[in-house]
Structures are given as structure tokens and as C-alpha cells.
Symmetry: C2
Subunit: 155 residues, 2 copies
Amino acid sequence: MRMSKGVEWALHTLLNLHMAGGGPVGNGQLAAMHGLSATYLNKQLQLLVKAELLTSIPGAHGGFRLARGLERITLLDVVQAIEGDVRLFHCAEIRCCGRAGEIEPQPTEACPVKAAMVRAEDAWRQALAAQTLAEIQAELDRRPAIARAVHTALN
Amino acid sequence: MRMSKGVEWALHTLLNLHMAGGGPVGNGQLAAMHGLSATYLNKQLQLLVKAELLTSIPGAHGGFRLARGLERITLLDVVQAIEGDVRLFHCAEIRCCGRAGEIEPQPTEACPVKAAMVRAEDAWRQALAAQTLAEIQAELDRRPAIARAVHTALN
DNA sequence: GGCTTACTACTCGGATACTGCTTGTCCGAGTTCAGGGGG
DNA sequence: CCCCCTGAACTCGGACAAGCAGTATCCGAGTAGTAAGCC
């Protein structure tokens, strides 16, 4: 039960794209920014494109660009784009198998175990959806020197 | 990012042990209850023993027994026992690698990305810790016939 | 000199191997119970 | 009749394979810029 490291890569890369200023930035530069594998980062960025968080510009001087402002991108958007299905607990309905299935073959009500786990996961998802990348960027902006350095490094 | 199915197995088995009445129940019977692989279920139950949620009685007529009442077992206890480390997001501190590392080699403050993800996970863990198995059992007790059937099946 | 055209370099995008964890299985150590033999 | 001993059956416990998702990599398709050639 470990989240893919692609999520961390995607989050930092989205922030870097914002600090870059809006112009398209190539995959190679974005990877070099954090010493990542360029080809694998590309895979993650393609997922972000598919989720319509990024737009890709092919050809020379192409690259990736934010599809919308950071204030319109939540943590849940990023996690969902990279991980796909964000459900942690998958109920296999084992309560209807084996001897328990003989007792109650057709589940008349929802599984209480599943319901409890879903409640907890909803709290997680709501917390993810409540935080936008703009808020994280605001934290980074408390040290403007870094933001400026990133900007020059990517331009 | 999928939770081990051992969590579902453990939750249902703990509830079954409660309905069994307190006497030790063998691993084979517990597995047959839901048509599970007995040997693999045993692996999960050993984790619960190590977490002190269950006690094991060796020898003939032995088995597993709840170490404490359901009202003192939370969902977080079970998830933590099976999954071990319950942190979903592992920050690799990539902000200090590559060219970004040249800008800020020594992180003076906590990583805002990590902090945001941890906040969301804390909401999840709190929601897990807030729900006990006794509350789930209360839902099941709304149909006493099933609880009785499980009791007789395990005795 | 200006326009067309072919070439090159660079980009994204999907198809292809490798690794580690989850899942599943097996066999051994230990304990309890039952039955038989002896006192 | 009671006690002891031996055996067997059953249990847990850890060590040993198979499958699959995550990880990493490579190569092809496409586009923009550039430079040369032609009008």
C-alpha cells in the first residue's frame, strides 16, 4: 500500500511549470530539475495530459504546459491522474463466500465493513480535494529567491 | 496503490471470532467461513497476533482468540497490523536533487508538498482510528439470525 | 534577393524489458488429547 | 481402580515459490526550425 513515486514527481513538476512562467518546457529539462529518469517522467506527464492537467506541444521547442491555473488543480486531481482508481480498499464481498455464503447468499444490505472503510477514504479524498497547488505554491513563494532561480533554470 | 486483501480478511475474521463467543477457533474453520486460502489467512492472523489483537493457542483444540473486546479495536489497528507502515505518500526529497538541489541543497524548511499530503493522510488515519469494530458489529447485530448462524458454524 | 524545398534536430508517444511486493503454498516445531499398559 | 507413558492428531509458525503491478528503458512518429538551392 504505497503510493507511486510518480505522484511526487508530478506534483513538483507541475509547480516547476508554474514557476517557469507559461512557456512550454521540455521533458528533459523538467527531469534534470530533480535528477529524475527522463523517460519515466515522460510516462507520468502523459498521464497528466490525458487527465487534461497539461497540454503537450510536439516538435522542436515544444514541451509541456499547464492546462489551467494552479488554483484549479487539486491534489486529488493529480493523484487520480497518476494512480487511476483512487480506491484503497477493494471489497471482494467475501462475506458471501464459503460457509458464510450459505448463511446469506444474497447480500440484502451493504457490507458494513466496506462502508466503514469507504467513510475513512472519503475523508482522505475530501482532504485531497480541498487543497490546491496554488496553496502549496504560496508556501514556496515565501522564499522568492528560489522561485526566481527555478524560473531562470527553465528558461 | 491498492490495500492488501489481507485487511478485508482480517476484519471479517475478527468479527467472526467475536460472534464465535470467545473460545479459540482454528485457522481452518475461519478460512472455510469465507472460502479463503487457509495457509494465507494464517499468515495474516500471525500479523494480528504480533500486533496483540489476537492470541494464539497451540496444540489440538487450539486456535485464535480475540485479545481484547471489539470496542477496543479500531480500523487503524487492523490496517496497521496488516500493512505495517500506513504512510501512503513517501517523500523522496527530490526537491534537493538535480538542478533544484543546486539551488537549495539543504532544506531549511519542511517540504510543502509532503506537508500537504500528510495532512490528507492524517484525515484518513483519524477516520480509521475513530471507528471501532464494535460499531461495525452493531450494524451486523441488526440481523441477529446471521450472528447466531455464524456462532453455531464456529462451535 | 525572395521563395520553395529538403534536411536535421528535437519533441512527444507508445511499445518493450526488469524489479520488488503482494499473493499463495509447503513443511517443520510444539502442544494437547486419547488410549493402552502397568502398578 | 488409578496413574503413567506413548502415540497420534491437530495446531501454530516460519521458510519457500508464483503472479502481478510498479519501475525503468528504448525506439518510432511527428513537427518546427534551418539552411541550401532555385527562380
